[in-house]
């Protein structure tokens, strides 16, 4: 029997990037809950990846406070991914983080057969640098523009308008988390549901206002009750 025609077969890569606000206001309950939540969602993300074995999920993370730095710079297979806790201090240079992610998603760095990337932005405040410039840099990249972008507003002081601009899809509003338990729940949703949607090989019509986005089921908008009085942000 002749061999299968063609060269080596491979799954389609899917980039997942955490973008985490590590400014001073995140100190305490917020950053603790965030670290806990990301630890907790590794297994569910692995389960999503196992349910979609034709997608190779690789994860990175970038933090921003004074400037932006890659926390996990190497795209790491979700099955090998480990989270090391973040600490918080400094301002909120979100624009810088967006520019760094834009560089990572440049066409030359991305496989042309890749699935849409998933970007999850978590922030509790207002950007202290040029957010619009950073967002433009991201959206100027084809892979940035086609990425599934999710945002979680932590506490009452987050700039939801900025987060809406980042998401760029009126059908997917920013999630809000008012307490630690709620943040864990929202992060779990943000790490699994968009991932599952982006893993689907289904096509979307290009440049159409209502068909261009990867369809995402409506995110939960209700707020989970805090586990204790101390749990409220």
């Amino acid at each position: 029997m002749p061999n299968r025609p063609g060269g080596e077969l491979a799954k389609r890569p899917l980039q997942f990037i955490w973008m985490v606000d590590c400014s001073g206001s995140m100190q305490g309950k917020k950053i603790e809950s965030l670290n806990f939540a990301i630890h907790e969602c590794i297994k569910p993300m692995q389960d999503v990846a196992n349910e979609n074995p034709n997608a190779q999920v690789v994860v990175r993370a970038i933090k921003f406070s004074d400037g932006a730095q890659w926390h996990i710079s190497q795209p790491t297979d979700i099955h090998d991914f480990k989270w090391s806790d973040l600490s918080a201090d400094g301002v909120t240079d979100m624009g810088h983080a967006l520019r760094e992610v834009a560089k990572a998603l440049e066409v030359k760095n991305m496989p042309d057969r890749g699935l849409p990337p998933v970007l999850v932005l978590l922030s509790d405040g207002q950007p202290t640098d040029d957010f619009n410039d950073g967002l433009k840099a991201l959206m100027d990249q084809p892979w940035g523009k086609k990425a599934v972008r999710i945002a979680i507003a932590i506490g009452d002081d987050a700039d939801e308008e900025v987060l809406r601009k980042f998401i760029g899809n009126v059908e997917v509003p920013p999630l809000t988390a008012k307490n630690g338990k709620d943040l864990v729940r929202k992060i779990k949703w943000a790490s699994t549901v968009p991932l599952k949607a982006a893993s689907n090989p289904a096509s979307r019509t290009k440049d159409q206002p209502d068909t261009g986005h990867v369809p995402i089921p409506a995110p939960p908008q209700d707020t989970a009750a805090p586990s204790s009085a101390d749990d409220v942000f």
Binding site: R4, R12, A202, S203, P215
Partner: protein, 441 residues
């Protein structure tokens, strides 16, 4: 230059494989394929493949894909019947101007008619709401742009004794393989903007602006193979080169093992590609030359060593480009008159067919395409329509065995979900490959 009396014969293989991810999700195959070739393999040959989007908003794209390939083959057949003995340059111009918009309008009319006779069910709308939100559901329930639910890509090839015309809307690949040099070329250049599962589509109102058309006049001999595939296939390979290798490998296999063997193994190979690669539905159609028989693919050095012999006989020099790697992909150059500007709108084709029979609209009643007839030995200038990448060597030296002239068709082994309609294919001896369709009760 073929004189129109050269007796080329062709065979066609095709298979559409349900994707591994769709098997897991219990979804139907959303690709489709249709081709037309006479039992004796004489031209013309028509081949069309389509990829239904399968997204939440294109929840009837399996139907849309079938209608796309059926419409494409019908429109191309009508076109060929109308061109008579027209000059190639006139054929090219007429094809670019008329075929895409006619396909797109006819497709839209067919899917709209299907929606009128089969309104979206509550189940469909509920699944849409779950997957894409309540706003999407409301738009669909109001009947806004129902054709979006049928969205699909479309690739088509039309082959005669003298030329190859390719059309592409959306992702997927059309490859042409020279049996003289083994060169694998993209008959239509890759659209680099189509990434991350985004594609242009039949459901776009401005689809004619996005379609790519390529016309190739055969310099000496037509290609050995023309392959059309949906993007599930190319997305299954680790690299572009790994995918393009299929052209070389299929050529060699058809030449050495025969078309029957390739056709028998096609379902297994495509299933493996989906399982270990993209997970998507995969559809592949291959037009292969039966007469003159396929030559063994020759490396560049072999071609060069044969040049002096064929030149001495008065034959045209063997083509191929200096420094071209064996099996490397080179795009077929577009004609100088290639345009992507909006086409003139066709006359209004009136309301959707409401006969309820499900028959396609009668395209024969459309205004005839007037194409200037050929006068004398009129040929287009080289710069306009030739494609230097596909110059084919004259036969000479080693002459391999002929491609297997036996069974040219392969019955597809699609795995369809029992839904509103059941699609089945039958191979006939009369007019090639025909889709049959029956409505569930």
């Amino acid at each position: 230059m073929p004189d129109g009396r050269t007796a080329y014969r062709w065979g066609v293989l095709g298979h559409s494989q349900l994707g591994a991810s769709h098997v897991r999700q219990g979804l139907p195959n959303q690709d489709a394929i249709r081709f037309y070739v006479l039992p004796d393999g004489s031209p013309p040959v028509l081949l069309a493949v389509a990829d239904g989007h399968g997204s939440a908003k294109s929840f009837r794209s399996d139907v849309g894909a079938v209608m796309a390939v059926e419409t494409a083959v019908q429109v191309c057949r009508d076109f060929l019947e109308g061109i008579g003995d027209a000059a190639p340059s006139a054929v090219k111009s007429a094809a670019e101007q008329h075929i895409p918009p006619r396909i797109f309008q006819a497709w839209k009319r067919r899917v709209t008619d299907h929606w009128v006779r089969n309104p979206f069910s509550e189940d469909e709308l509920a699944r849409l709401a779950d997957a894409a939100g309540p706003a999407a559901r409301e738009r669909a329930a109001r009947g806004e742009q129902p054709h979006v639910a049928y969205g699909a890509t479309l690739l088509a090839a039309l082959l005669t004794n003298e030329f190859l015309i390719c059309f592409q809307l959306g992702d997927g690949e059309i490859l042409a393989v020279s049996d003289a040099t083994g060169e694998v070329a993209r008959a239509v250049p890759k659209d680099e903007s189509l990434i991350a599962n985004e594609t242009t589509s039949l459901c776009q109102d401005d689809a004619v602006r996005h379609v790519q058309c390529r016309f190739q006049l055969f310099q000496d001999r037509p290609p050995g193979l023309v392959l059309l595939s949906t993007d599930g296939y190319s997305n299954s390979f680790v690299s572009s080169d790994a995918f393009l290798k299929v052209g070389t490998d299929y050529l060699e296999m058809i030449q050495t093992d025969g078309a029957d063997t390739v056709g028998t193994n096609l379902p297994k190979w495509l299933e493996e590609a989906s399982r270990d690669g993209s997970g998507d539905d995969i559809t592949l159609g291959i037009i292969y030359r039966r007469e003159p028989p396929l030559l063994k693919p020759a490396v560049a050095s072999t071609c060069e060593s044969s040049t002096s012999a064929s030149a001495a006989s008065g034959d045209p020099p063997i083509g191929g480009r200096p420094g071209l790697d064996h099996g490397a992909a080179e795009p077929i150059e577009p004609c100088a008159t290639e345009t992507t500007s909006p086409r003139s709108p066709l006359p209004d084709q009136s309301s959707p067919n409401a006969s309820g029979t499900g028959d396609p609209p009668d395209l024969m009643k459309e205004a005839a395409i007037e194409v200037p007839t050929r006068t004398g030995a009129e040929l287009p200038p080289e710069s306009e329509c030739s494609a230097p990448a596909m110059q084919i060597a004259q036969e000479g030296g080693d002459k391999p065995g002929a491609a297997d002239p036996a069974t040219q068709h392969v019955e597809s082994q699609d795995n369809f979900e029992a839904s509103r309609t059941t699609l089945f294919r039958r191979l006939t001896d009369g007019i090639g490959w025909v889709f049959g369709r029956k409505e569930n009760g």
